[in-house]
């Protein structure tokens, strides 16, 4: 271990007999943003908390820049933004930033001030007087101002207005330009599509796929009517999901559809329709608990 900025190998965690995360293996490289998607309760936050050292994995291990998660060196190289920021209500924003900076040990004060300005944060207000979005801003400014080499972001833009979301995206883009590694858990599909090189999708605690965003963009939906059975077509190279229906089937193909078309040419196909699947459709197919887990 240690080649990647973030390495998780077979992480598992259960709470009271319920498996929240099951054998999750995932790597994130320096200068890369990996989107971490999944329905509510899928295990995203549990995974992030294990990577942060806030939860101990039952099985498996994880490192940040080659250091065991939770170790002092790993923590010093990590910036974290939770989805629901809780801080001491009597502190002002500036005081909270000062405290978090001192605990982290290193902080770029000039960059912090720049971020305060860009996010239009009023730092003299007390935390208890902030809206949810403004509390998020405090955590975002604190995490980015540390210049940590690894950023773990758990739905960081929840509560931010669209203008601030745009500023956040700019900050992430700048961070990856500096070689920082980012694992971004988010339900904002446009944000993931815009920022991420790869996406990891988790459902019921199981990592169902890790794909390049470009590969996902090349997905094609193929729907055909056929006389006879559809046996074996779901196993054709490139087919990532396959849903038979009476008298036909629909399939989602990653990359070239040629292998599927070759297979179909040997069957009695009466009609065939194709179209490019949007990223949102692809994401949602992973979210939908009623559909089988895409292979």
């Amino acid at each position: 271990m240690g080649e990647h900025a973030i390495e998780a190998d077979g992480l598992s965690k259960s709470f009271g007999g319920v498996k929240a995360v099951d054998s999750l293996t995932l790597n994130v490289d320096a200068g890369e943003v990996v989107g971490f998607l999944g329905p509510n309760g899928a295990g995203k936050s549990t995974t992030l908390r294990m990577l942060l050292g806030l939860l101990r994995p039952d099985e498996g291990s994880a490192t940040i820049l080659g250091q065991p998660c939770g170790s002092a060196l790993a923590r010093q190289n990590t910036g974290f933004v939770p989805g629901d920021v809780a801080l001491w209500p009597q502190l002002t924003g500036r005081e909270a930033l000062a405290l978090l900076a001192s605990l982290h040990g290193s902080n770029d004060d000039a960059y912090r001030d720049e971020l305060i300005e860009r996010f239009e944060l009023d730092p003299e207000k007390r935390i208890r007087a902030y809206s949810k979005g403004n509390r998020q801003k405090v955590a975002i400014v604190a995490a980015f101002a540390t210049r940590a080499r690894v950023l773990l972001l758990d739905e960081p833009t929840s509560g931010l207005d669209p203008l601030m979301e745009r500023i956040f995206r700019e900050c992430v883009t700048e961070a990856i330009g500096r070689g920082q590694a980012v694992l971004l858990s988010s339900h904002m599909l446009a944000e993931v599509e815009h920022l991420c090189n790869r996406v990891a999708m988790i459902r019921n605690g199981v990592l169902v796929t890790v794909s390049d965003v470009d590969d996902l963009r090349s997905h094609i939906d193929v729907e055909f009517d056929i006389v006879g059975d559809v046996d074996g077509l779901g196993d054709v190279e490139g087919v990532v999901s396959f849903t038979p229906f009476d008298g036909g089937a629909s399939a989602r193909v990653s990359g070239s559809p040629a292998p599927l078309l070759r297979a179909l040419s040997t069957r009695n196909v009466t009609s065939l329709r194709t179209r490019e699947a949007s990223l949102e459709e692809i994401f949602l197919s992973y979210y939908d608990q009623s559909t089988p887990t895409p292979s």
């Binding site: 982290h104 003299e124 207000k125």
Partner: protein, 521 residues
């Protein structure tokens, strides 16, 4: 709405019911163990002593266990019930507005008005519950039903007054911290008015202005004047009416006096977890230090009167001997005895300060610090060190104020005497800190409740166990049992050593656990 509010108060209601049952039962048992009416004869002269009246309250007679409970414990019970009801009121109303949960109630079909009246109803039911428990416990201890009923009404009435002060404070002040400070501060103030009223005969008229004075004037087990229940109903009704008008008039989450939302940043005490530990605990320490120092000042001031009194009443001295308070016949002994009583207050403070770590954990405030480089061991260590240091400072302040009180009453005493007494009183703190830290590391949610209950239990066992001939092992299980009356006796150094060693072992286990445990709420 009503049920939702009851869910918020039910645990503390159960604790309060338990406290009432234990305190009243212990009071009745103490009376019986002291020989009943005959045993109390030697105390009769005490009832006329203004110093005793200021401390424990005035009472007309001690001719029944109920009367003894009313005198010996009644004032403290009433104070506890009033503070509890005031806290519940700010919890149900202002805290809900701070957290935003009041919005859901205000936006529900019944609306904001029923939400307010639901809070009033729940508080009323809590006070009624207190009254029922007091009545049942007293009657089951063979006290006269009519007297017990009147006394139960009075205790419930004082609670109701505390609740109405909390309700009004919640409408006038925000956030909850300010509302609580003002409401509970007012309750403390009217308690002080009662002390002043009882401290000198010329001040008796002041009892009219305090619910604790109304309690005394009612004299449930003495002269029986139920007319004093009237102000306990009328004054809260007026306060609640004002609170209602104010809540109808204002916007949700706003108050007449809202603490400023903006402030200039003060970062000196934010430069490390060690410094922040101080900052986080500073206001709590100062508040407790002021309260305990004031109590110490009053006790110091009363020393002269108490010691003079013992010189003139041999029967009282015999009673003190029988109850194990023989050292109280001298000024240093009196001071030393009260230092042991103050040890309970200091112990609660120590537990409160350490349990803050558990609160921070549960609220999720430590997620970012622990994820972004903060060391968990340092966090716990800074909490323990700041608490320990703060407790020493509070003890010194308290000792000094006690000395000032003694000196101002005309009795000469060395400054070191009460200071030594207070330092002896905090010798249990290392043990309590270690155990609280251990609970914070394992069960942060229950750390405070468990330790606060243990302190109350240990103190009761240490004070009453020997008098009531409870099992030796039970008495010896209480750390307070090992506190000597310093400065008239030498400190119990072997016990102090044992407290430090056990506390250190518990703290070591706490550190090991805290450094690696899952951070969950």
């Amino acid at each position: 709405m009503h049920r939702v509010m009851w869910r918020q108060v039910r645990v503390s209601a159960v604790v309060m019911v338990g406290l009432l049952i234990v305190m009243i039962s212990v009071g009745v048992e103490s009376y019986n163990a002291s020989g009943g009416v005959l045993g109390m004869k030697s105390l009769n002269a005490l009832l006329k002593n203004p110093a005793i009246s200021a401390l424990a309250g005035r009472v007309a007679s001690l001719n029944s266990a109920g009367a003894f409970v009313e005198w010996k414990m009644g004032m403290y019970l009433a104070l506890a019930v009033a503070l509890w009801a005031g806290l519940l009121a700010t919890r149900l109303t202002r805290a809900s507005e701070d957290e935003g949960t009041w919005d859901y109630l205000a936006l529900s079909v019944p609306g904001r008005r029923p939400a307010f009246w639901s809070a009033v109803a729940v508080l009323g039911e809590c006070c009624a519950l207190v009254g029922v428990v007091v009545f049942v416990v007293l009657v089951s201890s063979s006290q006269r039903a009519a007297d017990s009923f009147l006394y139960a009404m009075v205790i419930a009435g004082v609670g109701w007054t505390g609740a109405s002060l909390g309700l009004l404070g919640s409408q006038l002040f925000a956030p909850r911290r300010s509302a609580t400070q003002v409401s509970l501060g007012t309750i403390g103030l009217v308690y002080l008015v009662r002390m002043m009223a009882d401290g000198a005969n010329a001040n008796g008229w002041l009892r009219w202005f305090s619910p604790f004075g109304w309690l005394e004037n009612t004299g449930a087990f003495g002269h029986r004047a139920p007319v004093w229940l009237v102000p306990m109903l009328v004054v809260p009704a007026v306060l609640i009416a004002v609170a209602y008008v104010e809540q109808e008039r204002r916007d949700v989450a706003i108050a007449v006096w809202t603490r400023a939302d903006r402030s200039r940043a003060r970062v000196t005490l934010l430069a490390s977890s060690w410094r922040f530990a101080w900052r986080e605990r500073r206001s709590t320490m100062v508040t407790w230090a002021l309260g305990l120092a004031f109590f110490g000042l009053v006790v110091g001031y009363l020393t002269n009167a108490m010691v003079e009194f013992t010189r003139t009443d041999a029967a009282y001295v015999r009673l003190l001997n029988r109850w194990g308070y023989a050292t109280m016949i001298t000024a240093p002994g009196f001071i030393g005895q009260f230092c042991v009583i103050l040890a309970v207050g200091v112990s609660f403070l120590a537990v409160t300060l350490i349990a803050m770590i558990g609160t921070d954990l549960r609220q999720g405030r430590l997620d970012i610090p622990f994820a972004n480089g903060g060391s968990r061991s340092e966090w716990l260590g800074s909490g323990v060190v700041s608490t320990l240091t703060g407790i020493v400072v509070v003890a010194l302040v308290c000792g000094a104020s006690m000395w000032a009180g003694v000196e101002s009453s005309g009795t000469a005493m060395a400054l070191l005497d009460p200071v030594k007494g207070m330092l002896n009183a905090i010798s249990t703190v290392p043990l309590l800190l270690g155990l609280t830290a251990l609970l914070v590391a394992w069960w942060p949610r229950f750390a405070y409740v468990i330790m606060a209950s243990l302190i109350a239990l240990w103190y009761l066992v240490a004070e009453l166990g020997p008098i009531l001939h409870w099992p030796t092992w039970l008495v010896q299980a209480s750390p307070f049992h090992y506190l000597r009356i310093v400065p008239v006796e030498p400190a119990n150094w072997p016990a102090v050593g044992a407290f430090v060693v056990i506390g250190a072992i518990a703290a070591a286990a706490a550190f090991a656990r805290f450094a690696t445990a899952d951070v969950t709420d």
